[in-house]
Amino acid sequence: MTQVELLEVNNIGISFGGLRAVDNVSLTIKNGQLYGLIGPNGSGKTTLFNMITGVYKPTSGTFYFNGENLTGKSPVEINKKGIARTFQNIRLFKNMSVIDNVKVGLHNKHKYTMFESILRLPRFFHEEQKMEEEALELLGVFDLDKEKDSLACNLPYGKQRKLEIARALATGPKLLLLDEPAAGMNPNETEELMETIRFIRDNFNMTILLIEHDMKLVSGICEEISVLNFGTLLASGKTSEVLNNPEVIAAYLGE
C-alpha cells in the first residue's frame, strides 16, 4: 500500500442562500485507504460528496485528485478522472435491467463509436463481449448475477444498494464514494456488506471514502475518519481515537 495522497481537499466550502452548509473543510485521503466520514444529520457530509463529484460547485476552496485540481469540473469529467459514487437516495436506472445498469457504468471503458455499432463492426462484438463478461463478474461479486435480467426497480432495497455500488465500480474509479451504503440493512446484511467493501478495496485496488451512521461498520472497517459538525470539521484521525473524542461523543454518538 503506497502512502500517496489521492484526494486533497483544501478549505472547501459552499453556501445555499444564507446557509453555510460546508465551511472551510480540509481533508487528505491516501491511496488505498478506507476512510470514513461521519457527523450528525445535516452536518454537510453529502454536500461534501456533491462537491467532490461536481454536482455542486464549491463557493470557496479547492480539491485535488491525484495531484490535479478538479475544483468546479463537471460530474462527467470528474468521473472520467476516476471518482465514482453512490447516492444517499438510491439513483438506479430503474427501468433498465440489472446487468444493463452495470453495462452503462462500463460505457466509457469499452468504447466503440456509434458508427461501429450501426454497422455492427467486429469491434462492437468484441467490446460488447468484454462488457458482458465484466458486468457478470461484477454482479457476481455482489451476488446479483441471478437477478441480472430483472428490472432494477424490482430488486429489494438492499440489493439496489449493492447494484449501485457495482455500477459505480464499473466505471473503473480509483476513488469510490459511498453515501450510507448500509442504510436499510439489518446487522447481518451490514456484516456481509463490510466483507464486500473490504473485498473491493483489496481486489480492485480501490480507495474508499464512505459516509455511514452505523458505527459498527465504521469502526469495523475504516482506518481513519473525519467528523463534520455544522459544516465544519470537528475531528479527524485514527478511527478509534476519534470515536473516543468527547466532543464527537457529545455531538454525534451520544451516551
Binding site: 424490482n154 450510507e180 436499510g184 439489518n186 446487522p187 451520544g254
Partner: protein, 236 residues
C-alpha cells in the same frame, strides 16, 4: 378485541406475489415490531394497510371497519398515520407546509396549532428550519419531518417504516425514545425496522417475516433471546 386484525392477506405486484397469506393482529396501546430481511414484504404490508396498494385477497380490519374496502384518503381520518419508507416528504413545500398537510384531515385550528407546538418541541430542528424548502433538508432532518408530519394527524395507530434509517446514532436513540413516548402517549405503533435489536427492545410483541410469510412471532423479549433470531437478525 384487537385494534387491527389482518387475515390471510395476499398481495401482488403485477404477476409477482409479495405477500403470501399473512395474518396478525395489533392490540390497542401495543408497540408491534415487524422484522425481516430486505424484500421480505414489510413495506408492502404497511402500504396495503394504508391503501396505497390493493390486496388481492384477505382482510384488514381496523376497529371493526374493513380497510380493504376503504379508499386510502379515508383511512387517515379513521386514525391511522403512516411514516413511509423513503420519507416521501413534499420536497417543494416548506417544513411548515408539510406539517400542516399532516393535519389535513383535522379542522380545529387551535388544536392543530397545539399539535404543531408538540412536534416542534420534539424536533427543535424542524422549528429552526420551518421555512426551509423540505427537499433541501438533510436525510435526518427529512426523517424527523416525516415523523412529525404523521403525528400532526393525531393518529390512534402509527405505522413506521424504518424510521431510524439514515439517522445519526444520537438520533437513532432519540427516535426510539420518541417512539416510546408516542406509545406512552396512547398511540399504538406498528414498527418496521432493520435495527431489530432496538426495535425488539421497545416492542411488546414482534413478527418475523421471510419472503412474504410470517415465520415466527411472539413476545419481543422472547424473540430477542431466540437463537435463530439472534443469528439471522441481530448479528450476534
Amino acid at each position: 378485541m384487537a385494534m387491527l386484525t389482518i387475515n390471510d392477506l395476499h398481495v401482488y405486484y403485477g404477476v409477482i406475489q409479495a405477500i403470501k397469506g399473512i395474518s396478525f393482529e395489533v392490540n390497542e396501546g401495543e408497540v408491534i415490531a415487524l422484522i425481516g430481511a430486505n424484500g421480505a414484504g414489510k413495506t408492502t404490508i404497511l402500504h396495503t394497510i394504508t391503501g396505497l396498494i390493493a390486496a388481492r385477497s384477505g382482510s384488514i380490519i381496523f376497529q371493526g371497519q374493513k380497510l380493504t374496502k376503504t379508499p386510502a384518503h379515508r383511512i387517515v381520518k379513521m386514525g391511522i398515520a403512516h411514516v413511509p419508507e423513503g420519507r416521501r416528504i413534499f420536497s417543494h413545500l416548506t417544513v411548515y407546509e408539510n406539517l400542516q398537510l399532516g393535519a389535513y384531515t383535522r379542522g380545529d385550528k387551535a388544536e392543530i396549532e397545539a399539535s404543531l407546538e408538540t412536534v416542534y418541541r420534539r424536533f427543535p430542528r424542524l422549528k429552526e428550519r420551518k421555512n426551509q424548502v423540505a427537499g433541501t433538508l438533510s436525510g435526518g432532518e427529512q426523517q424527523m419531518l416525516a415523523i412529525g408530519r404523521a403525528l400532526m394527524s393525531r393518529p390512534k395507530l402509527i405505522l413506521m417504516d424504518e424510521p431510524s434509517m439514515g439517522l445519526s446514532p444520537i438520533l437513532v436513540s432519540e427516535i426510539f425514545d420518541i417512539i416510546k413516548s408516542i406509545s406512552e402517549g396512547g398511540t399504538t405503533v406498528l414498527l418496521v425496522e432493520q435495527n431489530a435489536k432496538k426495535a425488539l427492545t421497545i416492542a411488546d410483541r414482534a413478527y418475523v417475516l421471510e419472503t412474504g410469510k410470517i415465520v415466527l412471532s411472539g413476545n419481543a423479549q422472547d424473540l430477542i433471546n431466540d437463537e435463530s433470531v439472534k443469528k439471522a437478525y441481530l448479528g450476534e
